[in-house]
């Protein structure tokens, strides 16, 4: 995981950072490979591809093709683009293995994807897009490069295709810059955050599609960055060391049921708390006692009264004794 000290994109451009020695390290670390593979699987799941069909997919920043191989294993034909020749050289024998259906090209994604329009049935990217946020060359303008990349990506996708880009944003400014560029060129969608309460395990997936409207199949659980920040409820679980279990979307309850349960829970909480409109007295269970002042006070003809006109005369609310 990228810590403050070890951000490759702040060191040099990807082709100079991933020189042959670094590229070799990257492709031999079984832990790195495991992380990349699990992120690829999650990205493929979020892609929500139609089942049973072999499709033409794009892998942006494919590197040593760890992620692309997974696309191939799912039965698709893939094209991988990367800036670093050293990484592509490692990907080469893998893309030429028997029955491999992948191809590679050396490109700079900040200049755009050099393909005709309306080709790819989907696009993934693992740990690559954050490279666009920093200047690796004095002539680089990160916002412009991001826009050019997203515009060209949107162009080369088929009309109902999705792009799922896993990335490591350095900070929220970079994340905002990326989102702004993506939405600015017409992409719909947002970020899915896995393990939001675990700083080390947290993973960001930018899920984008071309047009708004009803999409076939279940949508990924989209959360904005603010929703992932710890709320009072979440603070209880903040210090748990085990990461949250990863529940695939197919097993989650449907959204309408969730809303219903949410409403019910909210109502219960409200009844619990509201004992009075006045917090000074403290909540009394089940009883809507209204003292003078506080919320819900009603100023009627007779001067100040804390009771609503419909309640005048009633001895007390709440449970019958």
């Amino acid at each position: 995981p990228r810590t403050a000290m070890s951000r490759p994109e702040n060191t040099a451009a990807a082709d100079r950072y991933y020189n042959p020695r670094e590229a070799k390290k990257y492709s031999e670390s079984s832990r790195l490979i495991w992380i990349q593979r699990s992120m690829t699987n999650r990205a493929i799941q979020l892609l929500n591809l139609p089942k049973g069909k072999p499709l033409l997919l794009l892998d942006v920043g494919c590197g040593s093709s760890i992620s692309s191989q997974q696309l191939g294993r799912e039965g698709h034909v893939w094209v991988g683009f990367d800036l670093s020749r050293s990484m592509l050289n490692i990907a080469l024998p893998r893309s030429r293995a028997k029955n491999s259906t992948g191809d590679l090209a050396e490109i700079d994604m900040g200049v755009g994807i050099p393909c005709r329009s309306g080709l790819y049935d989907g696009c993934i990217s693992i740990s690559a897009v954050q490279w666009l946020c920093t200047k690796q060359h004095p002539s680089h303008n990160p916002e412009k490069r991001l826009r050019v990349f997203f515009r060209s990506l949107r162009k080369v996708l088929v009309f109902d295709a999705r792009a799922v880009l896993q990335l490591y944003p350095e900070n929220s400014e970079h994340m905002d810059m990326i989102l702004q560029a993506a939405h600015g060129v017409g992409f719909e969608g947002g970020i899915v955050v896995d393990y939001p309460h675990n700083m080390k395990a947290k993973k960001f997936y930018l899920c984008l599609w071309k047009f708004p409207g009803k999409r076939p199949g279940p949508s990924p659980r989209l959360k904005t960055l603010s929703e992932t920040q710890t709320t009072r409820k979440n603070k209880k679980n903040k210090n748990k060391s085990a990461p949250e279990p990863f529940i695939p979307d197919s097993l989650l309850p449907p959204p309408e049921y969730k809303l219903k349960m949410k409403k019910k829970r909210k109502k219960k909480l409200k009844l619990k708390k509201s004992g009075g409109g006045d917090e000074r007295i403290g909540a009394t269970r089940g009883r809507k006692k209204r003292k003078s002042g506080g919320d819900g006070g009603y100023i009627g003809e007779n001067g100040f009264t804390s009771q609503h006109p419909s309640m005048v005369g009633r001895r007390r609310l709440g449970r019958r004794r």
């Binding site: 072999p54 592509l88 700079d108 393909c115």
Partner: protein, 124 residues
């Protein structure tokens, strides 16, 4: 680089976006078998630019493809045609060669089967 990839590539320079297809000058070619999947070839056909594919196949020495694709492709009926397309698209690799933009004559080298589409600083 497969001929399928060649069919998709354009000049990354925004000025010359309409310059398609890139001229293919192969210097070394290899052929490797890939498992034939008729569904994939049928799925791919609407995405292809067929005249560009014919051109690329002719530079590589494969001139057996028909001049026009039939309007409705049936996997059982056009099995031979699909197998030929599968071979041309997926099984031929250009290991060494050049891609040349038809408008600007800018050359993109292909080395070890990987085309280098990166632009110089002054071209961006």
């Amino acid at each position: 680089m497969r001929l399928l990839t060649h069919n998709m590539l354009i000049n990354p320079m925004q000025k010359f976006e309409g310059a398609y297809p890139l001229k293919l000058i192969p210097k070394k070619i290899t052929k490797e078998e890939v498992k034939y999947n008729p569904l994939f070839v049928v799925h791919l056909l609407p995405k292809l630019n067929y005249p560009a594919l014919l051109y690329a196949a002719s530079t590589v020495g494969l001139k057996d493809l028909p001049k026009e694709l039939p309007k409705k492709i049936d996997p059982t009926e056009h099995d031979e045609l699909l197998k030929m397309l599968h071979h041309v698209l997926l099984e031929v690799h250009v290991e060494e060669g050049l891609l040349v933009c038809p408008k600007s004559e800018r050359e993109f080298p292909i080395k070890q089967g990987i085309p280098n589409m990166r632009l110089n600083e002054d071209e961006v």
